[in-house]
């Protein structure tokens, strides 16, 4: 029992960091969008995969199940805490899975075989991007967790030769695919690592072909069940493939810029250090340890560690070379970096006074990670300078609902008009209120109980108002200001 205590403590820390004050940060536009989609699933009992504007179904089904467990049965009842608990639980599971992956690798010459696994788990538990996006209702943490689960199953299958591990691994791959269309990238990186580091070796099974077919069937069946909305929407299977056609149109060479293009060193900067608006952001101590671990992995005898190093390089290169970049992809890089950082600690213990040096290094890295996690997730979670709060909604979005409720109390028939080329996350904050409409340009009739117009639409709206209104401003996100028109008595 005591054997599991350190990992249980680390998992407890991970869960605490991931679930504390989940409702405080304003909803990001993407979170709100997906929460409304979840609410529609609760309201209608049905979900249809949308390959154009949304990722796969796992997030919505998981959130809807959790919402029902918490007694929330409609969009109006759904809360921020409920939807964010989904990535929080998966993010905690990832911490346990990474320990299982490293512990299953039989790393040589590390003293106790368990502590590198615990070190990797601890690094992931307190990692700033891992914590931030485990509190953020998007798919990335689920994808990272399913990927780790697939690798754990694959590792167990390789060592034991048991078909059930192949089936379990296949199911995890199906979940990866049903989470985000970028899943094949991680599988390719995994296959590349395997090919480079294990060529000439064979798994424990005598029938790898049969197990591969079983894994493929499990992956296909799992993905098919989810994409087809449990068999009620067969065209979801076709749409799952259509997602790649849409992606090619969106990111192809002839496509218009998405607005999310960034330089190749974008992710390296997040893992390095930089100053933005007077605030210092850094993960350099952790990254230096991971680089040291990478060097140790290539020089050492462990094929597993070399595989992790190849995987880390392949995924970092792929994300860095692709022009479209968003900070939540850092979540996919952290597990490999955490394992390599743990390896570096193991290597440090080999020298003179090694344990002392490793202890100091571990303390510095964990302290700096915790400091950055605290700043990014708790003290400045929506700050425009926070590298993870990407085009984040400003705190002003919390003021729209009280304004709308007051307007409907004065004028129950409404309407509340949101007239803006961008309006997310307002549909989330105005959920359940009657007589609310959304327009991207000014309609002929603009009068209402409350009118929210973007700065770009404000002149056109003002020109069409027949009643007298007072005017003030509220923000949607940094740099995006809305004008609020309230009827004068």
């Amino acid at each position: 029992m005591l054997r599991w205590l350190p990992l249980a403590l680390i998992a407890f820390v991970a869960l605490g960091l991931r679930t504390r004050d989940l409702a405080t940060r304003p909803m990001h536009a993407d979170e709100a969008n997906q929460a409304v989609k979840t609410g529609e699933l609760l309201d209608s009992g049905h979900y249809t995969y949308d390959p154009r504007d949304h990722h796969g179904p796992t997030l919505y089904y998981a959130a809807a199940a959790l919402a029902r467990l918490r007694g929330e049965r409609s969009l109006a009842e759904l809360t921020e805490t409920t939807v964010r608990l989904v990535p929080a639980f998966f993010g905690t599971a990832a911490v346990i899975l990474i320990a299982a992956l490293v512990a299953g690798a039989n790393l040589p010459a590390t003293g106790s075989p368990r502590w590198p696994a615990l070190a990797a788990a601890l690094f992931l538990a307190v990692s700033p991007p891992a914590v931030y996006y485990s509190r953020y209702f998007v798919q990335e943490t689920l994808l990272a967790t399913f990927t780790l689960a697939a690798f754990v199953c694959g590792q167990r299958w390789w060592r034991t030769g048991l078909t059930r591990w192949a089936v379990a691994g296949g199911a995890c791959v199906g979940l990866m695919q049903a989470t985000k269309a970028s899943a094949p990238l991680f599988l390719l990186a995994g296959v590349l690592s395997l090919w480079i580091t294990r060529s000439g070796l064979r798994p424990a099974t005598r029938r790898p072909g049969r197990d591969a077919v079983a894994a493929l069937l499990a992956a296909s069946a799992t993905a098919a069940v989810l994409f087809s909305s449990f068999g009620t929407n067969p065209s979801g299977l076709r749409d799952a493939l259509a997602a790649y056609v849409h992606a090619a149109q969106r990111f192809g060479t002839d496509a218009a810029p998405t607005g999310h293009e960034k330089p190749w060193w974008y992710y390296l900067r997040i893992f390095g250090w930089y100053r933005e608006g007077g605030l210092l952001w850094y993960e350099a101590p952790f990254s230096l340890l991971a680089i040291g671990g990478m060097l140790a992995a290539f020089r050492g005898p462990s094929r597993f560690l070399r595989g992790v190093a190849v995987y880390a390089i392949a995924t970092t290169l792929a994300f860095s070379l692709f022009a479209y970049k968003t900070p939540w992809h850092t979540v996919d890089l952290v597990p490999a970096f955490a394992i390599l950082a743990a390896v570096a600690l193991a290597a440090l213990t080999q020298g003179r006074a090694g344990r002392l040096v490793a202890g100091v290094a571990a303390t510095v890295v964990i302290a700096t990670l915790l400091q950055q996690t605290w700043r990014s997730s708790f003290t400045r979670p929506a700050d425009w300078r926070n590298p993870f709060a990407y085009v984040h909604s400003s705190a002003d979005v919390l003021k729209y609902r009280p304004l709308a409720e007051a307007a409907l109390a004065r004028q129950p028939a409404g309407p509340i008009r949101i007239i803006s080329e961008e309006y997310w996350p307002l549909p989330w904050y105005l959920r359940g209120l009657p007589n609310v409409g959304f327009w991207s340009t000014a309609p002929e009739e603009c009068d209402g109980a409350l009118i929210v117009a973007s700065a770009a639409q404000a002149e056109a709206v003002r020109a069409r108002l027949r009643r007298k209104y007072s005017e003030t401003f509220l923000g949607l996100r940094p740099g995006f200001v809305c004008m609020i028109f309230t009827p004068e008595p």
Binding site: A29, H54, G479
Partner: protein, 219 residues
């Protein structure tokens, strides 16, 4: 319940439900557009400059009016700002670049410039933060000879339209911050201290100042 009672009951219900139909009016049911789903919003990275040719407000002052606030002592409700120093507010640097502004905590915060002696204040100019389009909430500008601002307080600007800062409701218009800042006409109000309040902004809950300039004449 016999047949007669039932008939009476049905008649009453019919009368009640028929009442609204009788005057020919029913609640209007309007279908309003539902929100459209959209992808991740794009970052906005445009400098928030006043469009070329924008007319700046002209405030007429006496010929001997001069800048009284340069290098003067500044105090604040947030005495230990996380970013910047209170002295930045009167150091003459209004560029707004990193290292040239002070960031105060969330909720209503104030800064106060001590002119050193009572003066006839002609105008107060403020640059909160202008590298991004944003509007500061509850901007209130007051002048007084009392450093505590408990007596003899004159408010020369107040856009707190819902009294959320609990200093009285104001009717002045909010404005978008630009490189031109904002100049408030103090109309010769006498006082040694100038205090400016704000309550977060449309981008975040924090309060910022690049520079405050107080113009006037010695009394």
């Amino acid at each position: 319940m016999n047949i007669r009672h039932l008939t009476l009951l049905f008649s009453a219900v019919a009368l009640a439900t028929g009442a609204s139909a009788a005057d020919g009016k029913v609640p209007l049911k309007v279908e309003y557009p539902k929100p459209l789903f959209a992808g991740t919003p794009r970052p906005i990275s445009l400098a928030n400059l006043e469009p070329a040719g924008t007319k700046r407000p002209v405030i007429m002052v006496s010929a001997d009016t001069k800048l009284l606030s340069k290098g003067k002592k500044v105090t604040s409700s947030d005495s230990l700002p996380v970013i910047g120093e209170l002295s930045f507010i009167t150091d003459g640097d209004k560029t707004g670049i990193d290292g040239a502004y002070v960031e105060l905590g969330p909720n209503t915060q104030w800064v106060q410039v001590d002119l050193g002696a009572s003066a006839k204040v002609a105008a107060v100019a403020v640059w909160h933060f202008h590298s991004q389009a944003r509007v500061y909430h509850d901007v209130i500008v007051q002048i007084s000879d009392d450093p505590e601002f408990k007596k003899g307080v004159t408010t020369i600007f107040n856009n707190d339209d819902d009294n959320s800062s609990k200093l009285g409701k104001g009717s002045d218009k909010s404005y978008v911050e630009t490189n031109n800042g904002r100049v408030f006409d103090a109309k010769g109000t006498a006082g040694r201290y100038v205090r400016l309040y704000s309550n977060g902004n449309t981008s975040d809950e924090l309060n910022h100042y690049c520079e405050i300039e107080v113009f006037g004449t010695a009394k």
